[in-house]
């Protein structure tokens, strides 16, 4: 499914808040139809890169191209057209707390498309069922959901408009291992059925082994390696060695859940 066409292409990106840049001339590609796992130490700037790509943080220099279009200097309309083609799953879900689950999933559809209420209802319900929730959840408020359900609803909302790219910020953090494994599998299934490209910021070594086609590693403000898991395991870079071949890394490798 993976092709060589880059849906996201980042070149020379510099982002910083104070004197020292957080991202220092970062280059990264995400190809169509792949799941890219993006790893790095805490505070290395993984979420910063994601937030810069989706336009929540300003960049100092560099080029971000999405679907072959440079995001800088787009008109408001062009920008919205691109934003419609991606979905974002925030780390804490970021569900609208005053809306029910169903309304949360319907929200982007309602805002962007002019559809009949019946169709909006059906699509929202279909999305909820696709992420493994049943119709009863629809009437609940986010505060009444468990952590795993919040993630699923947030994923359903991210998928509401059938995006081409989905950004996932630590999708399995805060889930128990069984829930995390299920969520990984869900992402894999959805990616296969819907043919989406996935940019996944994660710390979960199991996720990296189980679902990621490629892994990119951010360290000291740069992408120091990118490639499939085998490349990471074979690398002699000290940080990669300790990350993938440390105690926890070895365990994840040996107990590979999908092999």
């Amino acid at each position: 499914m993976t092709s060589n066409e880059a849906v996201i292409s980042v070149r020379n990106l510099v982002v910083g808040f104070g004197a020292a840049p957080v991202l220092d001339h970062v280059a990264l590609d995400v190809f169509r139809g792949e799941i890219l796992g993006f790893v790095g130490g805490s505070g290395a700037g993984k979420s910063v890169l994601m937030r810069t790509i989706i336009g929540l943080l300003p960049k100092r220099q560099g080029v971000i191209e999405v679907f072959g279009t440079d995001l800088a200097g787009l008109s408001g309309r062009q920008r919205r057209a691109i934003e419609r083609r991606w979905g974002v799953l925030f780390q804490q879900g970021a569900l609208f707390s005053s809306l029910t689950v169903r309304q949360n999933v319907q929200f982007p559809i309602r805002e962007h498309l002019d559809l009949s209420p019946r169709l909006i209802d059906e699509i929202a319900l279909a999305k909820l069922e696709m992420v493994g929730l049943n119709a009863d959840v629809g009437g609940k408020y986010p505060a009444e959901l468990s952590g795993g359900m919040v993630k699923r609803v947030a994923l359903a909302r991210a998928l509401a408009l059938d995006p081409d790219i989905v950004f996932l910020d630590e999708p399995t953090s805060g889930l128990d291992p069984v829930g995390a494994a299920e969520f990984d599998e869900l992402i894999r299934t959805l990616q296969r059925t819907l043919g989406i490209s996935v940019f996944m910021v994660t710390h979960d070594l199991d996720s990296l082994h189980a679902v990621c086609d490629r892994i990119a590693v951010l360290s000291e403000g740069r992408v120091i390696a990118a490639g499939p898991i085998e490349t990471m395991l074979a690398s002699e870079h000290p940080w990669l060695k300790s990350y993938f071949r440390g105690k926890r890394g070895r365990q994840a490798h040996h107990s590979d859940r999908y092999h």
């Binding site: 009949s116 169709l119 699509i123 279909a126 696709m130 408020y141 998928l159 059938d162 059925t193």
Partner: protein
């Protein structure tokens, strides 16, 4: 963007439908009409084939509409098949085949009168419940106060001082200004009306009694409820949302002692002081207006003031102040602890904190009026 079509060819009792173009979210509105017409037109067909071979693009919206068309035709008694699927779209079509199978729940015709009655009932029960909660917090607070009196070192002095500064000191300018204006307005209105029958001088009596007994303390309480009561509710509410209050409990600390007591102590100290200050500012405003607008020399005003003020007049206002402060603090804390998970609930509780505390302050003022009349003050 390419358009989307559905064409049909009839062959006896067999119908072959061919979907073409891009069946995607952008086209979903027209596609929905299209499939409804199609389902209606071919409802008598014995068997229907839906050919997807010529589709350019398909997403979940399109896939669902095809599935809906298929279900509609099947419901009319046709044998429906989906043919010509590409491998890429196969998963999508399979996926939507499983969704939306459960019959729609809820909805249905709801009786408006029942809904209205239901909400009245709930509101009444809520009012009763909030009184219970107030009593509960008052009880818990009394226990904490007694415990603190027994062990004065348990009072969180730093926190209390911090709240005292926020509630009292920082409120001084706005409270002095608003009560000054109220005093001035009362005096101006009084002079304007009283002059008609030559009773200018009694304006001083009226303003003094009004300000010292009622208006001073009420204005201060309204300001404090709006300024500090709302802040307390929002603070406690967001602490509750972030489980900070649960964290305190697990550390063996009493949230009432740590959070509520310092705030209420600060209010009970600050409100009488602000009331005194506010009353003085109002009298100053009244004096200024009497002089500049009513032509009453300051020494005459002061002379009249001395005769008009009777110590109980002043006492009545000052006695009420700490009780009203207690009500504001209790309501604010009760509402804060009642906040649930959502942002909307925080907003709702903050509003109801201000509304309820102002309302209860006015009710309490009425109760005090009857009480003081009863004991002849």
């Amino acid at each position: 963007m390419s358009s989307a079509f559905l064409t049909g060819t009839v062959d006896g009792e067999r119908v072959a439908l061919a979907a073409m173009g891009a069946w995607t979210a952008e086209r979903a509105a027209e596609l929905e009409k299209l499939i409804e017409e199609t389902a209606h037109r071919y409802k008598d067909a014995r068997s229907v084939d839906i050919d997807l071979a010529k589709l350019e693009r398909l997403d979940m919206f399109g896939a669902w509409l095809i599935e809906r068309l298929k279900r509609a035709l099947t419901a009319h008694g046709s044998t429906t098949r989906v043919v010509g699927l590409s491998d890429a779209d196969c998963g999508l079509i399979d996926e939507v085949r499983l969704v939306n199978r459960a019959p729609p729940t809820g909805g249905g015709a709801e009786n408006r009168i029942l809904i209205a009655l239901d909400s009245i009932g709930r509101n009444v029960a809520d009012i009763g419940w909030s009184l219970v909660l107030l009593a509960q917090l008052l009880g818990a607070l009394s226990v904490v106060v007694l415990r603190t009196i027994a062990h004065p070192s348990r009072l969180r002095l730093a926190s209390t001082m911090h709240h005292l500064e926020r509630v009292g000191w920082r409120a001084v300018p706005i409270i002095a200004l608003s009560t000054f204006l109220i005093g001035a307005i009362l005096a101006q209105q009084g002079i304007f009306r009283f002059r008609a029958f030559g009773a200018d001088i009694y304006v001083v009596d009226m303003v003094t009694v009004l300000v010292l007994r009622e208006v001073g303390v009420l204005i201060v309480c309204v300001m404090v409820a709006g300024r500090s009561g709302s802040a307390f509710t929002a603070e406690l509410g967001s602490m509750k949302m972030r489980e900070e209050i649960d964290a305190l409990r697990t550390m063996g600390l009493d949230p009432i002692e740590v959070l509520v007591l310092p705030r209420i102590v600060a209010l009970v100290i600050a409100v009488p002081m602000l009331t005194f200050l506010g009353s003085m500012a109002a009298l100053y405003g009244a004096g200024l207006v009497c002089w500049l607008y009513g032509g009453m020399a300051p020494d005459i005003f002061l002379e009249r003031l001395r005769e008009a003020i009777w110590l109980p007049t002043f006492e009545v206002g000052m006695i009420k102040a700490p009780f009203m402060a207690l009500v504001i603090g209790l309501v604010a804390c009760v509402e804060g602890f009642e906040v649930e998970g959502s942002a909307a609930s925080l907003g709702r509780k903050t509003t109801s904190s201000v509304v309820k505390s102002i309302f209860l302050v006015i009710v309490l003022d009425g109760v005090f009026a009857m009480f003081f009349a009863g004991i002849g003050m």
